[in-house]
């Protein structure tokens, strides 16, 4: 008669008493490790809307849409989760101390509606006072002003934004109508209008 092998017997007893290797998935969702690279999430407070993340993204999973409506100019930052490869380039390139967009440990990203895969935040946009084209997000201009300190006062675009945000200049102040003259220089301008106003010979 063939005797049962002791090693196999002990293995069987052990297997009977130990808990299963697999986890009860829907009941107990998998807990990833804390530095797992999952869904990147925008931080509405920290993000300055500078588009550095869009520039570095290798799969073009980040896009933006500028709403040039004089009453409520907005830049919508869009992150497409379905295209994202979770590489973390956006986080590494973020100028706001890498906190404007941050990878989370969120991994259960399945969706039924493709629209649900888009993550958006809205940032207030600064328009040129002459031509009405977007210059940058207000937070971005404030961020630059803070970074360069007193040098801010060499650029009316920057110092007016800063003074408005500090409440020193009335935020609703609307400058006089466009004239493309020298007096236009003390306005919040885009690069093109600034050049034109600088080259202007009009003394209005």
């Amino acid at each position: 008669m063939k005797l049962p092998k002791v090693r196999e017997l002990s293995e069987a007893v052990k297997a009977l008493l130990s808990k299963p290797y697999t986890s009860k998935f829907p009941k107990k969702p998998h807990q990833p490790y804390h530095n797992f690279r999952g869904q990147p999430i925008y931080n509405q407070e920290k993000c300055v809307g500078c588009l550095a993340c869009e520039e570095v993204c290798p799969v073009e999973a980040i896009a933006h849409e500028d709403q040039v409506d004089p009453a409520n100019p907005m830049r919508i930052m869009i992150h497409y989760t379905d295209t994202c490869i979770f590489c973390g380039s956006c986080e590494a390139a973020c100028i706001a101390d890498n906190e404007g967009i941050k990878l989370s440990t969120e991994w259960d990203l399945a969706f039924f509606d493709r629209k649900a895969s888009q993550e958006t935040i809205e940032k207030e946009l600064q328009l040129c006072e002459i031509c009405g084209q977007p210059i940058a997000c207000k937070d971005h201009l404030k961020w630059i002003a803070e970074k360069i300190g007193e040098l801010t006062y060499s650029s009316p675009t920057l110092y007016l934004t800063r003074l408005k945000s500090l409440g020193i200049v009335d935020e609703n102040l609307i400058s006089a109508s466009r004239d493309y003259g020298r007096s236009d220089r003390v306005k919040i301008l885009c690069a093109r209008c600034r050049r034109e106003s600088t080259l202007s010979t009009s003394t209005k």
Binding site: P32, Y33, F36, V56, P58, I85, L103
Partner: protein
């Protein structure tokens, strides 16, 4: 008796080199084999030329799901060769750790599949369970199980968190006893000896003639390993041995891979324990015009990348040569004269991605009969069963 032709291929959905084997068989014996590649043009090299040097790393990483370290490693070395620069010490250690982790999981994956082809589904299940632990280690260290996104020209993207290293070391240690048991079970198994020894022999001369690479050549007694021949990363600063065996049959290839797993674990542990402090990235801003080459010993052999820069922020030319390209033609010397049931494991022994067998059909002069990948595996498993019965093992 009329000769039949068995085409295997040609479309291969996963690997970078779709392959098409034409097996000419006389009864059970393979009398001729032909390999065709190039059916699936993915345009990876062109895509890489359309991205910046930094972004290309992610495209390159996706050439192969299993070699997601090897290609970026060779690519970043090629870009660094253009400038040329030495990456910081800490970055070298991090790169080496990730590269060896990949080798462990790649070899374990292959071992599991080889077990499955031979009808050893227990090996398959056990090995893939062990592989999970290594993938967990990679997740702890890099943030993902595959596609580690850690390589960057001039350094690495993410640093290892010192708090995670003890956990990673514990996890690596936890698989060693089981691996040891598995090593004994595989190397001492009489059925595997009977099944794998002496089949698919790649002689030393043939290995040299076909320029075989990696474990395929090392099993044939050719001591060829980029990590030893031209050390890079931290390979010259850690203690490890090159595994070389002499016979070149399928069994030796299994042995080389199993033993290499232990060497890789040794390297990983040494790197994690002696991680030097300091910078991890050189923050390279500009790549000057020029050419660079980079090589890395991938799990399957030497991966080679050539990058030419014209001074812009994109590669002007990028060429990739993957190891399977060199290893596949060795089937001319290994498969001929063997039976179809052995062809499965011999073709698998160079470690190509084996999904190609899913698209296999038998054409005979009398009529059509379809052989799928499942049939090939069944043939291979039946042969193992026959050997077992002959040896009186149930």
């Amino acid at each position: 008796m009329a000769k039949s032709v068995i085409p295997i291929g040609p479309y291969h959905p996963l690997q970078e080199e779709p392959e098409f084997f034409t097996l000419t068989v006389d009864g059970e014996t393979v009398v001729d084999i032909d390999v065709n590649i190039g059916y699936n043009h993915r345009g990876i090299e062109k895509l890489s030329e359309l991205k910046t040097f930094d972004q290309s790393t992610f495209v390159i990483e996706r050439i192969c799901g299993i070699c997601s370290t090897s290609h970026p490693f060779a690519y970043t070395r090629a870009v660094e060769d253009i400038i040329p620069v030495e990456v910081p010490e800490r970055a070298k250690y991090i790169r080496t750790t990730i590269a060896e982790g990949e080798r462990v999981h790649s070899h374990l994956l292959w071992l599991g599949l080889a077990g499955h082809f031979l009808g050893y589904n227990t090996v398959y299940m056990w090995v893939w369970k062990l592989r999970e632990e290594i993938l967990d280690v990679m997740e702890i260290l890099s943030g993902n199980r595959n596609n580690y996104a850690i390589f960057k020209p001039g350094g690495v993207r993410r640093d290892f968190n010192p708090d995670d290293i003890p956990l990673a070391l514990r996890k690596i240690d936890s698989i060693v006893p089981t691996l040891n048991k598995l090593k004994k079970a595989i190397i001492d198994d009489p059925v595997l000896h009977a099944r794998l020894k002496g089949i698919g022999i790649l002689t030393r001369e043939d290995a040299l003639d076909y320029c075989a690479l990696g474990p395929t050549s090392r099993a044939s007694g050719v001591a060829k390993d980029v990590r030893k021949d031209a050390p890079y990363g931290a390979y010259d600063q850690v203690d490890w041995d090159m595994i070389v065996t002499q016979n070149g049959d399928v069994f030796e290839k299994v042995v080389v891979r199993v033993l290499e797993v232990f060497e890789s674990i040794k390297i990983m542990k040494q790197c994690l324990m002696n991680l030097p402090p300091g910078e991890i990235d050189l923050n390279i801003k500009n790549i000057p015009p020029g050419e660079g080459i980079g090589a890395h010993e991938a799990p399957r052999g030497e991966t080679f990348h050539y990058v030419r820069s014209d001074g812009t922020n994109r590669p002007a030319r990028h060429k990739v040569r993957a190891p399977t390209f060199m290893n596949l033609p060795t089937c001319k010397s290994t498969v001929i004269g063997e039976t179809i049931s052995d062809a499965t494991i011999i073709l698998a022994s160079v470690d190509p991605c084996y999904c190609c067998t899913e698209r296999m059909a038998v054409r005979t002069s009398e009529g059509k009969r379809i052989y799928g990948g499942q049939d090939l595996i069944r043939l291979s498993q039946e042969k193992t069963q026959r050997i077992r019965r002959k040896m009186g093992i149930k």
